[in-house]
Symmetry: C2
Subunit: 79 residues, 2 copies
């Protein structure tokens, strides 16, 4: 079972990496770029015998304990 | 207009970061994890006056020229 996890910085947290990408895009001539935020995309392959509800619980725990830093990051996932 | 860009390593490319996350999850007691791949998730805010077709073209160019390393990475996006 493939779970897609999206980790993003909270809106109030500065994103220097995103700002750098934004500047680079502007320098390359892309004038319509208003903002860029960089996050992580994680694909977790879980055992196929796992039920969807159980998978959901486990992924949530994984995000809280390891994948995301919940002080500065938000997470969402899609099973 | 918000565009969500997903950058992933090509399947044939080794992902040591993903393997490390996988090991850490196993060490935390998550026994159902079969594989982990880590990619990037980029939110690009484009000017609202841009038409969807034009935005699509621009994002594709951004991915080819800066956001993704197309030798080892695949990209996809959602407008």
């Amino acid at each position: 079972m493939l779970v897609k996890v999206y980790i993003t910085l909270k809106p109030s947290v500065l994103d220097p990496q995103g700002k750098t990408v934004q500047k680079s895009l502007e320098n390359l001539g892309f004038k319509d770029v208003k903002d860029v935020r960089v996050g992580k995309y994680i694909e977790v392959q879980l055992s196929d015998t796992l039920k969807k509800e159980e998978a959901q619980k486990q992924i949530q725990k994984m995000c809280e304990r390891l994948l995301a830093n919940t002080v500065i990051e938000n997470y969402s996932f899609h099973i």
